[in-house]
């Protein structure tokens, strides 16, 4: 089933690329069918998932045995929710792409490749494939922003996002390679579970752990817009076509966080002890500083982009807390934010298609003119400032609780995070509501048309998922808990090692 999840979009991508030019509607239909199928499969997987824990729906195939390369996919509590969220977002992103009028064939085949890559990255249990699929998803992202992007900033944004993300991926890659090299020659493998088991039994020297963890943290961190490597995100999302922004901000961006939890924490416990306090400090930058930056945005996408960067701070804080509650909360925020970011960018895309601008002062009274889109946007903005009833609240609440009792993250950090989430977030979200949705209608509003019929359901689907997991977060947390527990336990085993003095960086590096 997991294999089908990857293959359906990838095969559909090829089919779209080969489809005849004479049937212009075909690419979109194929893409909808493929993402619809993956959506159904992911729901079935989620329903059949056993919350008792462990890796499930595994599929393995030997590939290059001499290098220890296998094709290995599986889901446990950590990624089952992410896969479901990814499929929902992919379906919705495909559906809202009706405004793409230019070279639909190219667009949908790249979009499907990106979706296949994203799902592949999240289900792979093999380092090689994990990285490969991530790159497979990343490259179409760059191309699509460059070709179908919008705004005068397009070239600059494409350049910026490409450079940042490539760099992040390369730094992470160097860390992963060093990690691979730490395995004894005889049992070298890329299999994540085997590697984790090995490094638990035979921990890497503390100095090397520190180096590798540092590389992974910054590499993955850049992919997740860790402060101060975040400026590509608002810029890139502002220029990206709607579907891209939804998929990248919603799903692909979570890859870095997933990598940190799946790979860095359990394999490098001593490194975690060393670096998590730094991560906790940097994420204050995300939460507070980027919140302030968001307060100053006059453009809706700039606001959503910066607030999305700020929300990543909650994920980082939860991970840095290294408590079960915090890490589970972080995973929950990842899922919730994925749905929310997709919803927000989807709505801003619709607005742009009607108004031709996302300049907040030039929008006004949208609730009256576009009741559905306006109400949906209001829901998104409220969910973004942590209103209960949406999954984001549950996740952020857990992060606060987890971080409060953690030895790593200080109480002042929780105070700052609560201030950022409750006050700063509310200030910019409510200002946006006041200026865009409330107040008298803006000039030219008479020509804007509300979403009707089938254009509504992608948004309805995302809102429904947000509400479902907000009202019953146990659906996710019960599944996440066993996996998160194992990882927190493994990562905490580094406490004993961390007491030993860390080797200086240069010495650690010279051992290779």
């Amino acid at each position: 089933m997991l294999l089908a999840l990857i293959l359906i979009p990838l095969l559909a991508a090829i089919a779209v690329a080969l489809s005849p030019r004479t049937s212009p509607a075909l690419p979109r239909l194929l893409a909808l069918a493929a993402t619809g199928a993956t959506f159904v499969i992911s729901v079935m997987l989620f329903l059949r998932f056993d919350i008792a824990g462990g890796m499930q729906f595994e599929q393995t195939m030997a590939w290059v045995p001499s290098l220890g390369l296998r094709f290995h996919v599986g889901v446990d509590g950590l990624n089952i929710g992410l896969v479901l969220m990814g499929c929902i977002v992919a379906f919705a992103a495909t559906a809202v792409s009706w405004d793409i009028q230019r070279d639909e064939k190219g667009f949908y085949s790249l979009l499907l490749a990106m979706i296949g890559g994203i799902l592949g990255a999240f289900v792979s249990q093999d380092l090689f494939w994990l990285y490969f699929f991530h790159e497979l998803a990343l490259i179409p992202t760059f191309l699509m922003i460059g070709v179908w992007g919008r705004g005068e900033d397009k070239n600059y944004a494409t350049f910026n996002i490409t450079m940042y993300l490539t760099l992040g991926a390369l730094i992470a890659l160097s860390g992963l390679i060093l990690l691979y090299l730490q395995m004894p020659l005889a049992d070298r493998t890329f299999d994540i579970q085997a590697m984790t088991k090995h490094f638990q039994l035979h921990p890497i020297a503390a100095g090397d752990q520190n180096l590798i963890f540092g590389l992974l943290m910054f590499g993955f961190g850049i992919l997740v817009s860790l402060w101060p490597f975040h400026t590509w995100a608002p810029l890139g999302y502002g220029a990206a076509p709607t579907a891209n922004a939804m998929l990248h901000a919603g799903v692909l961006k979570k890859f870095g966080l997933y990598g940190l939890i799946r790979i860095a924490l359990p394999m490098l416990p001593a490194g975690s002890q060393r670096w998590l306090p730094v991560l906790a400090l940097l994420c204050m930058g995300n939460l507070v500083y980027c919140g302030w930056v968001a307060m100053r945005q006059r453009n809706l996408n700039g606001l959503i982009g910066n607030s999305s960067v700020a929300h990543m701070g909650f994920c980082f804080l939860g991970i840095a807390s290294l408590t079960l509650v915090g890490v589970t909360g972080a995973v929950l925020v990842m899922i919730a934010h994925g749905l929310l970011a997709a919803l927000s960018f989807g709505l801003s895309g619709y607005l742009y298609s009607q108004t031709g601008t996302l300049d907040i002062p030039r929008l006004g009274g949208l609730l009256r003119r576009l009741p559905f889109i306006g109400a949906a946007l209001m829901i998104a903005l409220f969910a973004g400032c942590g209103v209960p009833g949406f999954a984001n609240f549950a996740g952020e609440l857990m992060v606060l609780f987890g971080a409060w009792k953690s030895g790593v993250t200080g109480h002042w950090m929780v105070v700052a995070a609560a201030w950022a989430g409750l006050i700063i977030g509310a200030v910019y979200m409510l200002r946006a509501i006041r200026n865009m949705l409330h107040c008298p209608e803006a000039e030219g509003a008479g020509e804007w048309i509300d979403a009707i019929g089938s254009r509504r359901w992608p948004y309805a689907l995302l809102i429904a998922a947000l509400v479902l997991f907000g009202v019953a977060p146990g659906l996710l947390t019960d599944a996440i808990k066993p996996s998160a527990e194992a990882i927190v336990k493994m990562a905490s085993s580094g406490k004993a090692n961390a007491v030993a003095p860390a080797a200086p960086l240069l010495k650690a590096a010279s051992t290779h």
Binding site: E152, D153, N155, Y156, F159, M163, L167, N210, G214, F218, P228, H230, T231, W275, W292, V293, M295, R296, Q297, T323, L324, V325, T328, L367, R368, G386, V387, P388, G389, F393, A394, L397, M398, L400, F401, G402, W404, K405, V414, V415, A418, L422, I423, A426, V427, L430, R431, R434, H438, C439, E441, A472, P473, G474, T477, D478, K481, E485, P504, L505
Partner: protein, 638 residues
């Protein structure tokens, strides 16, 4: 037993939610149907509450629904049914039901009536959630939801910029309180290891010192939540602005429910404040004070300040808003004086007569075609007899005139103050006098004398759908003082949980004079004083004499002591300033390339970029890696 009676509470809670969801999804176009659904939902909730009140003695819990269970964080949704919540259920659904009905008369031709009733149902649901919450997180969740639904209601006429600003201000001010609240919850949870009220209470009863040095801080942080919702100084600024919502909304939110939530929460968590008082090292100067002392003084200060502000307002709704603030100050002060039961008592009676006053004001505004300035009314008594009589009754109750309910509950607070703190007793007396003064200023100017405006001249009585709720509330305004509510509440806080012996009607009527004669007589005396002063100033006035006589003092009172201006300036100097700096850094330093022209001349930028692109990428990549290495190096070198 398959279905236990306490599980009815789930229906009480969920019916308004079903109504809100149903209206939003299906009946937005059918205004009358939406109104019927919403009114039916709250009415059934009320009847079920009544059933529980009668049929369920003592305390009970409903079945619980699991929410989050991870490690040491376990949160369930469980509904608490004790005397406190059963009484509050009746108040919320009872007063709420009357306001629902009244709303239909008041707003029947509004084009967004369905949206109104959906928001109203959502609000009722949220408020009932607070009442029924059995643990801190559940209370916090509904606390936030009340914030959201009140936002929707205050901003109902969102096309008016003033309404859009008011709802934003209400939400943000409440959020500041909630910020303290959530930290308080974290402190309590970390120290006591539970979130359930009954478990926390048991733990603290067994080990009063278990909160350690954080006892005072934890209590005050939790109080922050109440400070926001119940609009206590210094977070009081949102309440008067929130009058931008439709008048029935003001009646519901600002009289009977939302603002009462803070007081209710303090009563619910009163056990926290009975812990051994202690302060951390940094707050050693507070030694000798308890959290309750501070709460009492904040309540007292709010009561006095709001009463002073009310004296110089001209908008009929704003006067009532400040009087609400002032009465909430009374309640909070009572809690601070270790008297949760007088506070709950006053909350209950106040809910009746304040809702009636607001609905009466709505009736007046409706009749005067949305004229709200009392100086353009006058002579309404003859034109609107039902509205005027009920309004007068409400005003008398608010002033604490025997035998109306306000007298009994206010007297309970005065007696409590007399027993615990004479300075606060004096302050409370002063507020009582002021209350009568500004209320009768309103009554004399708006209802008596001659018509001073075109609208007032053509006013006529409102239809029955609006006057019948007034009549019903008038009944409770008269009767709720002698119905034994105080004994019922006292039973909730008594150790055994048993109700005290009921008094006969005559005994109940005169109980305050038997219990604490000095407080009762002094209270009545203050009222008389205020009344005669109001008569002297406004008995036959066509314009307000105070500004001339007191000049700048009156001016300051009229401008609400300039709190709003001070806050705006403070926010501009802090958050907005920091945000600009952060934005500047982001744009010019972190974003780094300094390529964007300051005036957004993208053409220049594009050319520039083309020139720089190849070299720039390398420079930038180099800088990034260099920075990264520097960070890695620095973090190892210490």
């Amino acid at each position: 037993m398959a279905t236990q009676i306490e599980n009815i509470a789930w229906w009480i809670l969920l019916l308004p939610l079903l109504s809100a969801v149903g209206i939003t999804l299906f009946t937005l176009r059918f205004h009358k149907l939406s109104a019927q659904i919403s009114i039916a939902a709250v009415s059934v909730s009320f009847l079920l509450s009544l059933l529980l009140f009668v049929a369920l003695p003592g305390s009970a819990f409903s079945v619980s629904a699991s929410w989050i269970h991870v490690a040491d964080l376990s949160i369930d949704f469980r509904l608490i049914l004790d005397p406190l919540s059963k009484l509050m259920l009746l108040v919320v659904t009872g007063v709420g039901m009357l306001i629902h009905i009244y709303s239909y008369g008041y707003l029947h031709d509004d084009r967004s009536l369905s949206r109104y009733f959906a928001s109203l149902s959502l609000f009722t649901f949220s408020m009932l959630g607070i009442v029924l919450a059995s643990n801190f997180v559940m209370m916090f969740i509904f606390w936030e939801l009340v914030g959201v639904s009140s936002y929707l209601l205050i901003g109902f006429w969102y096309e008016k910029a003033s309404a859009a600003d008011a709802c934003k201000k209400a939400f943000l001010t409440n959020r500041v309180g909630d910020f303290g609240f959530i930290l308080g919850i974290l402190v309590v949870w970390a120290a006591l290891g539970s979130l359930e009220f009954d478990q926390l209470k048991a733990v603290l009863a067994a080990h009063p010192g278990k909160l350690g040095a954080m006892a005072g801080v934890g209590g005050l942080l939790v109080f922050c939540g109440a400070m926001g919702k119940s609009a206590q100084f210094p977070l009081h600024v949102w309440l008067p602005d929130a009058m931008e919502g439709p008048t029935p909304v003001s009646a519901l939110i600002h009289a009977a429910t939302m603002v009462a939530a803070g007081v209710y929460m303090l009563c619910r968590t009163f056990f926290l404040f009975q812990a051994t008082p202690a302060w951390p090292e940094a707050l050693a100067f507070l030694h000798g004070w308890t959290a309750l002392d501070i709460i009492a003084w904040i309540g007292g200060a709010t009561a006095l300040m709001a009463a002073l502000m009310a004296v110089q307002q001209d908008d009929i709704k704003r006067i009532l808003a400040y009087s609400t603030l002032s009465q909430l100050g009374y309640m909070v002060m009572a809690v601070g004086l270790s008297g949760p039961s007088p506070a709950m008592y006053h909350l209950t009676t106040h809910a009746f007569f304040k809702a009636m006053l607001f609905l009466g004001a709505g009736s007046v505004i409706h009749a005067c075609h949305h004229e709200q300035n009392i100086w353009r009314m006058g002579g309404l008594f003859r034109k609107m007899p039902i509205t005027s009589w009920t309004f007068l009754l409400g005003a008398l109750a608010l002033c604490g005139v025997q035998p109306l309910s306000g007298f009994y509950s206010k007297d309970a607070i005065l007696a409590q103050a007399m027993e615990h703190s004479l300075p606060l007793f004096g302050l409370a007396m002063g507020v009582a006098g002021l209350t009568t003064f500004y209320m009768f200023r309103l009554v004399f100017v708006a209802f008596f004398g001659k018509e001073r405006g075109e609208q007032a001249a053509h006013a006529h009585e409102s239809p029955g759908i609006m006057t019948w709720p007034l009549r019903a509330l008038a009944f409770f305004t008269v009767a709720s003082g002698v119905m034994g509510i105080d004994h019922f509440i006292a039973g909730a806080f008594a150790a055994g949980g048993h109700e005290a012996a009921s008094l006969s009607f005559a005994e109940a009527l005169m109980a305050p004079f038997a219990h604490s004669p000095a407080a009762a007589f002094l209270g009545l005396f203050a009222t008389m004083l205020g009344l005669s002063a109001a008569w002297a100033c406004y008995g036959a006035a066509d314009a307000d004499p105070l500004p001339q006589r007191f000049g700048s003092i009156a001016q300051t009172m009229r401008h609400r002591f300039y709190f709003d201006e001070m806050y705006e300036e403070a926010i501009r100097l802090t958050h907005d300033a920091i945000a600009s700096v952060a934005d500047w850094i982001d744009r010019w330093l972190i974003s780094g390339l300094l390529v964007r022209g300051a005036h957004g001349s993208f053409e220049v930028f594009g050319r520039f970029l083309r020139l720089l692109q190849s070299g720039n990428l390398q420079t930038y990549a180099f800088l990034l890696v260099a920075g990264l290495l520097a960070i890695i190096y620095l973090s190892f070198s210490h």
